[in-house]
Amino acid sequence: MKYLALIFGFVSLLSFGQNWETSFSKAKDLASQQNKPIVLVFQGSDWCAPCIKMDREIWSTEIFKTYASKHYIMLKADFPRRKNNKLSESQTKANAELAEKYNNQGFFPFVVMLDKEGNVLGQRGYSKITPSQFINDLNSMTNLN
């Protein structure tokens, strides 16, 4: 039974994972090909409590993931602080460049809606709202409504 639980846990972790892009150029390519906006999320996955909260309440929910897979390109810029979560040097540098361009105030979590060329359509922080409300809010920044 223990093993079964482990297997279930593993499988569900796999299927629950948001399909995050980590490369800005790839995200822009995909956005152009599929004609979707980019949702860029700045987070500190191992130190920023509000980010963890937002992940649980929005990004990891079935409603959001299902919708996002069809309508958005999800791009994550993570800034972990623990040694064992450290990203590759190139990824760390790429994320720092993204932060310099789109999050120069340096607060987390921070969500930036971008068009396929990387122009800012809108910005949001954490809100205590449902995934559906959040989707509506994101869409109000684009012409998806």
Binding site: P50, I52, R56, G125
Partner: protein, 139 residues
């Protein structure tokens, strides 16, 4: 153990991380919904980041996410909305150990009480929690 229970145990650690750092700050935001004056909260900043450098000094402040984050003259981190209650201008800064609206001069104490007539409606104050170099601001 059922699958749901198992997943719950997985979520426990994350839930603890959130509640432990929020302290009393979360309960208020949990009750509020969409168009609240505290949208965008809670959020965290890294005090070692160059954008936070004014906070290294007592009396220093930054404006981030429509919030005045300051280090008062006693060395405590304090935060408030930058939206002045006088004429709804986002012009509140930190000066002389109090919040000050540069538009018409409304002055608010660290606890958000008005210190002159333009400030009679008070200022919304936020809670701050410092963990290491991470400052989290919540409603």
């Amino acid at each position: 153990m059922k699958r749901k229970e198992f997943l719950k145990t997985l979520g426990g650690a994350a839930a603890f991380a959130v509640t432990a750092s929020c302290l009393g700050g979360c309960s208020k935001s949990d009750d509020s919904v969409t168009e609240n004056p505290v949208a965008g909260l809670p959020f965290s900043i890294d005090l070692t980041d160059s954008s936070s450098s004014p906070l290294a000094t007592n009396g220093g402040y930054i404006i981030v996410n429509n919030t005045v984050v300051a280090r008062d003259l006693s060395g405590n981190y304090v935060a408030a909305t930058n939206l002045c209650s006088h004429e709804q201008k986002r012009k509140v800064i930190f000066q002389n150990n109090e919040y000050f609206c540069t538009e018409h001069g409304a002055r608010f104490s660290l606890s958000g009480n008005g210190l002159n007539s333009d400030a009679s409606a008070g200022l919304t104050i936020f809670q701050t929690v410092l963990e290491g170099n991470i400052l989290t601001i919540s409603a």
